[in-house]
């Protein structure tokens, strides 16, 4: 038996030079300092994405897109299929935690300034991935075809329609027509299970590949201290030390997901009825709430311009700044760094405050 295992190993070794890989794994290290815990967030986001792929594939076994069938098929999953409620609840909980983790990862990278040279493309692929995750959230929200998701999608697709010139074509493209109908559902379904996953897979491969290429970033403060006093430099091996810790974190996360899904299972609501009036308290998912609340508060006219349009443009600017952040960060003058940190703090505070406000507001 042992010889056979050696033979199989030898066969692969002959062709793929596994020893090189092993040497590479041995060489890879993770810096150890007081901010090391933030290194786990990216891996945790990746893990939750994996959970989404797994549970999503399971849901596909029973889900049927279509205005006449979607709600019923989710109902079937929730009530007839064994543990269907669990799989769906884990999918929903994991989706929400994934968006939260992605935001936390973004801000940790931002405050530790890990986006700086040479990691500009790593940062940009990460920002694009976050936008994709929001797209996953938006497209997946409609799939159960309940009242809440129906109206949230109606409002959500109305927002880009405010953009001059391209707004209307975007709306028609997103809805597959003038209104939210079965065609919209088909589109969102296709986006959610085929187009977005394909793009996300490519971007994740790029993102993780770039991280392997450059190694882990050490925060500037820590780096300066280590340069002054090289004896303080601490590192752990990526394999197995860091991997085992990461796996432990994933294991805890899986347990937490199961607990949340079992104690607070996701509800299904009422089937969407295009001719029923919108129920009170229509709100998007919490991660869109800060934008939703802003657009709600913005006056109809600002300096003679359409307020809503200005709000949307402002969020567009924020997105563009976030994407291009590494290029705005200059070594000299030194203030730009303080500016970036300050602005990020203000924006984070704004997001948190608006989310809470949107949550409690009627």
């Amino acid at each position: 038996m042992a010889t056979r295992a050696t033979n199989v190993r030898g066969w692969f070794d002959d062709r793929f030079h596994l020893d090189d890989l092993k040497a590479l794994a041995k060489k890879k290290t993770v810096p150890l300092h007081r901010y090391s815990y933030w290194y786990f967030l990216g891996g945790m986001t990746l893990f939750l994405f994996g959970v989404q792929v797994m549970t999503g594939a399971l849901l596909l076994l029973y889900y049927r897109p279509g205005a006449d069938e979607a709600f019923e098929s989710v109902q079937f999953i929730m009530t007839q299929v064994q543990f269907g409620w669990l799989i769906r609840s884990v999918h929903s909980w994991s989706a929400n935690l994934l968006v939260f983790m992605a935001f936390a990862h973004l801000f940790s990278v931002l405050f530790l300034r890990s986006y700086r040279k040479p990691r500009e493309l790593t940062w940009m692929s990460g920002v694009l991935l976050l936008i994709l995750m929001l797209g996953f959230g938006f497209s997946g929200y409609l799939l159960p075809w309940n009242t809440l998701s129906y109206f949230a999608t109606k409002v959500g697709t109305e927002i880009p329609a405010q953009i001059p010139v391209i707004g209307r074509p975007v709306l028609l493209f997103l809805r597959g027509g003038e209104d939210i109908t079965g065609s919209t559902l088909t589109r969102m379904f296709g986006l959610h299970v085929a187009i977005l996953p394909a793009i996300a897979t490519l971007l994740i491969v790029l993102h993780v590949g770039l991280i392997q290429w450059f190694g882990m970033s050490v925060p500037p403060g820590v780096e300066a201290a280590w340069a002054k006093n090289p004896g303080e430099r601490r590192e752990i091996r990526f394999f197995p030390n860091f991997v085992l810790r990461e796996l432990m974190a994933w294991y805890v996360a899986l347990g937490l997901l199961g607990t949340l899904a079992a104690l607070f299972p996701w509800t299904l609501g009422v089937k969407a009825d295009p001719f029923a009036p919108a129920p009170a308290g229509i709100k998007p998912e919490w991660y869109f709430l800060f934008m939703f609340q802003t657009l709600k508060l913005i006056p109809a006219k600002i300096f003679g311009m359409d307020g809503e349009m200005l709000g949307i443009l402002a969020f567009g600017v924020v997105g563009a700044v976030a994407l291009l952040l590494p290029f705005l960060d200059r070594e000299k003058p030194f203030h730009t760094r303080r500016w970036i940190t300050g602005l990020a703090c203000v924006f984070l505070g704004y997001m948190a405050a608006m989310t809470v406000y949107g949550w409690v507001a009627k």
């Binding site: 076994l61 029973y62 299929v81 669990l86 294991y251 199961g258």
Partner: protein, 158 residues
């Protein structure tokens, strides 16, 4: 550069049983939790039985639409059923799924028997397999005529 944690000091020989014990404890714990994660997934993969029609009667045909010596295929739950009128007012109903390889059978007015076109199987009007490859009889159903409507249901036990 200090690489810590990778190689702890070699344990003393008397520590080995303790380490083994901890490893076994950890391993069984991990295995048990892995099983608890896998069990719901495996159960989920088993498609639930569709709500069966049980004792409920199904409207198979109208009296007016079925001529004597003809048959009609109707929906019985998710499967086809076959209703045959031999003489006026004399009805036979049975499952229309051939017990051989699952083709849908039909009534042959010329033979006055139930015939499966796939492999030339023959059943009599009570669903008994009389010739050809079918291994078992077709499940016979109860027929009830209420006014102009003919209802079919599973035969009630006892």
């Amino acid at each position: 550069m200090v690489v810590s944690g990778a190689t702890a000091a070699t344990p003393e020989p008397r520590d080995v049983p303790r380490r083994r014990f901890v490893n076994i404890l950890l391993g069984t714990g991990l295995l048990a939790s892995a099983a608890s994660f896998l069990y719901p997934i495996l159960k989920y993969l088993v498609p639930p039985k569709l709500p069966d029609l049980g004792g409920d009667a199904v409207l198979a045909a109208k009296v007016s639409e079925l001529k004597p010596n003809t048959g009609k295929t109707f929906r019985f739950g998710s499967r086809p059923g076959l209703l045959v009128q031999t003489a006026p007012g004399e009805y036979h109903a049975m499952s229309a799924t051939c017990t051989h390889l699952g083709c849908t059978v039909q009534y042959r007015p010329d033979l006055r028997e139930i015939w499966c076109a796939c492999h030339n199987g023959l059943y009599d009007l009570n669903g008994r397999n009389i010739s050809g490859p079918p291994p078992r009889p077709l499940e016979a159903f109860d027929v009830q005529v209420r006014g102009d409507e003919i209802f079919v249901r599973r035969k009630q036990e006892a």
